[in-house]
Symmetry: C2
Subunit: 417 residues, 2 copies
Amino acid sequence: MREDHQEAVARVDGARLWQRHAAMAQIGAIPGNGVDRAAFSAEDIRARRLLVSWAQARNFPVESDAIGNLFVRRPGTDPGALPVLSGSHMDSQPRGGRFDGIYGVLAALEALEAIDAAGLKTRRSIELVAWSNEEGGRFQPCTMGSAVYTGARSVDDFIDVRDNAGIALRDALAATLAALPEARPRPFNMPAAAYIEAHIEQGPLLEKQAKTIGIVTGIQGLRWFNVEVFGKTDHAGTTPLGLRKDALRASVAIIAALHEFTHDPQDITRFTVGRMLVTPNSPNSVASHVLFSVDVRHPDTATIVRLGEAVEPLARRAGAPCDVKVTPTLHDDPCIFDAAVVGTIERAANDLAVPAMRLPSGASHDAMYMARVCPTGMIFVPCEKGVSHNEAENASPEDLAAGARVLTAALLELANR
Amino acid sequence: MREDHQEAVARVDGARLWQRHAAMAQIGAIPGNGVDRAAFSAEDIRARRLLVSWAQARNFPVESDAIGNLFVRRPGTDPGALPVLSGSHMDSQPRGGRFDGIYGVLAALEALEAIDAAGLKTRRSIELVAWSNEEGGRFQPCTMGSAVYTGARSVDDFIDVRDNAGIALRDALAATLAALPEARPRPFNMPAAAYIEAHIEQGPLLEKQAKTIGIVTGIQGLRWFNVEVFGKTDHAGTTPLGLRKDALRASVAIIAALHEFTHDPQDITRFTVGRMLVTPNSPNSVASHVLFSVDVRHPDTATIVRLGEAVEPLARRAGAPCDVKVTPTLHDDPCIFDAAVVGTIERAANDLAVPAMRLPSGASHDAMYMARVCPTGMIFVPCEKGVSHNEAENASPEDLAAGARVLTAALLELANR
């Protein structure tokens, strides 16, 4: 590693990085050390303002695009050179943890500050990005900000989406943008030289193998569906079961059939129904309508295609006598990361003598969309027992700092290449 | 029938009765001709105020007890004689109809007005009662007002119950009571000579047999349970299914097992899961907690006991590896109505030459609790295709008027006995 790069890496401040996690964790804090920071909520806005205040303290320019993705730039010396991007997201699951997403944002900020504190000039600009609505817990689907930024989807696709309380994304997004007047408007999909996302693993592998750094090779494929079941509401005491169209009973039959169909003796297939809304949702009324989500994932393209294509016919068959409507809401093919970026991260870890291993990602990330438009990689750090999307999510200050050092070294190499 | 009683029955005004249904249906109107008038809501308060305004126009005194049950009295000549009560409820299901409950209140008011217009004196007072929260759609359990009035339960049992939005019954009840300052306070469980409740059938039998009046012989037994399933929230992409405690998957298994267990080839058993709340309810988080309702009914005591007692062990077994907690929330034994009151109603129908038949009630009613403290009966009128707890619920003005005439005649006989 170049000596000036080593100097910048040495400026990574693990204590500051940890304190910033603690400060962010107070925004939307919930019992059990967790965080509830829904996309475009008042808490999301407070997190964005805190991030901007840290950027402004260093005089880093701040930009925002029309879906609310937030950018913080440390300018390079060559205005014609494409920038290197790094970041993740600041929204959380309804009962999320203190590290998912926010770590990649704060690690990128730490890299920018360390490089700045060392007085380094880089040929390319380095830009932090905080993607909007990665979790999709409030407004579906997930990874919305990076999907729109990279042109895979458009703002119009999502502007009328509503949360469980009936609030339109249009209004929540407008409030978010209005709360950040200092962010200069930025167009979508500005060309980039590379993108690196740091993230907690959200799985048990690094901890089990006693590694500090995961060099991520790619992301498994994913299909999301909304399944709607249309029944008929009736009095629970008087209507014989043979005359009912019970949308909840039909949903139970569909979910049981899908579980059976997706059963995988090797336990590689991930199948989840995590969201269900029942109408009218009253103990003595037969349900007239149920909406539930389907999330199915597999690293192999042929398998995920087969599983995804079976959902609709299987749901229709199992849901009789109710009518069933299946709407695909997300479709991500398995993704393989850029070999050069993966190699850069691996070299940085080796140079810094941090125990590292290559592994695929079980979770989706914004890096999946960035991989379609520029060379992309990811850095994982361990999380306790692999627990994530849970208040108990935990990571050590040392591992977070090690990840930020590897990120800083990798960004410098890419920014000066 | 006595001549003066005939005169009063002739004063029953079918057009006025129908118009009052239309006026009440505007309070909480929802698309498709339905009504959403939750207990202790702003709409419930408006309905109560409208009822009180009609009572006051006739100078009938108005009273309310501490759970919000509303009473309208036409005084009798003998202050020492126990009163005769008649009524039903004004709250509705979230997607309810224009006749369920409100018919029994308006029919009783029609009887009071017809008797008053005919200038009749009765020995006993006749009192209209509008029971609070019969439906239990917002605050569980149902038939709350009559359960508390008759001493089967106490206000303290329910005061801390919360609706799906987290609002406590305590606060909603206080607002309801405060909105009716003219109602004089009334103690619970004042002795009564008899109670008659008029109601739409909510089933298909009268229509099928071309009868206008159902002389109700009793009510089938009922058990309600809340089943809570405790899992562990995890990331849907990274956690192998073998390591999960998925509360929604376990709930699906429990409901499927309960459906199988309660399956009845004769289709007499009523089994319904109508309410389900999922936490955190996000597509890519494994559910950590699910609460769902169980409603099971049967006219035979031994059968309902057997079915009810099986729910908890069966849910625990089918819900593994999640922990399961089953809380009984309602327990009504099958109920047989008083032979003298049933006979009085039958005689009234015969005297008025209205086609009538005896039948049991599939639905629960406040009459079940009143039957424990005084001689009780019910009058059913047909509803279209047996549809109830549904916006499409419908009944004819002629049938509603016929029911009010039978009610008037029966109340007069009981009030002068």
